[in-house]
Amino acid sequence: MTREEFLERLGDLLACLPAEQIEESKAFYAEAIADRMEDGMSEEEAVAAIGSPGAVAEAILNDLPAVPRVIAKTRRRSNVLLWILAIVGSPLWFVLALAFAAVAFTVYLCIWILALCVWIIAAALGASGIVALALATCGIAIGNVPYVLAMAGAGLGLMGGTLFVGAGAWAVTKQIARLSALWVNKALSPFSKHRGDGETGRPNGRAGRLPVNPSVDGGGDAERTAGGEHFSAAATAALN
């Protein structure tokens, strides 16, 4: 096979990718072949050393995130097949997806309602505290000292409780918001490839995206903290 034939075949096999990515891949392999020829190989040998265009294309497509990869591979066989599968399967996948989304939404809502409960308790404590203090001022007006002391004590105690529960509610809310961001990244993970294939939930959109791929490049912090995990390949492989 000549260099040109190889590159043309590779381009055909990657036709499901965006044009710039195809060009980039072809340029990389053109360079690899040219470097081998400079190293003394014949064109035939150099092309053979790279491997078959099919294997090369496979390696590039395998590096895509799960969902774009399946779409790309199905589309490579036939675009019509992809649409037929999507439409014929729609009574099944659509209903399932809907049910799943409903359950996920409900669970999520419940979690926020729990947080809301904590806020309500804090608000109730605060309101009772204010009322108690108001009653204490009324007590001053009528000059009943034990009553004023009791009410002022109760009021201050309630205000303290408000601050305590309020701080807790704030912390819970922050935690839930943080987890929400994590969950969103997890949920979108089939669209953006994680390093270590889901071994660590890392929001890291990888090279080679298809247009269908919703970008999740957000969560920078999580990405950085998970960075150390990358090379743990050796250790995790053995531990798992």
């Binding site: 891949s25 340029a27 090369v56 590039i60 390093r195 080679g208 090379f231 390949a233 050796a234 492989a237």
Partner: protein
């Protein structure tokens, strides 16, 4: 070699290959120890991944009347190498454990 493990090793090898002076695809393939069995089809996605993660910097330069891409390690990449090396004690520990269980 186990796939996950090999992936981590390959990445460290490629980073090491570009950590001195800058290097290019074919040279990286030749430089990396043969036991890793690195080929261009493995190298290409790997380089893109490393570039995306900011571990290597890429530039195109002319060579013999054509463009060639040169890769060089960044500080992030050096950090990666250090992280990789820092795992050696735990790998050794596992090795000793497995070896000890054999006898």
């Amino acid at each position: 070699m186990e796939a996950q493990m090999k992936r981590g090793f390959l990445e460290a090898c490629v980073l090491a290959a570009v950590s001195g002076e800058e290097s290019y695809g074919y040279r990286i393939v030749k430089d990396v120890p043969a036991c890793m069995g690195l080929t261009e089809s493995t190298l290409y996605p790997l380089l893109k991944r490393l570039e995306k993660a900011g571990c290597i910097a890429v530039r195109s330069a002319e060579h013999n009347g054509r463009l060639r891409k040169y890769y060089r390690i960044t500080d992030t990449g050096r950090e990666r190498i250090n992280e990789f090396l820092a795992e050696w004690p735990s790998v050794q520990e596992i090795y000793r454990y497995v070896e000890g269980a054999r006898s």
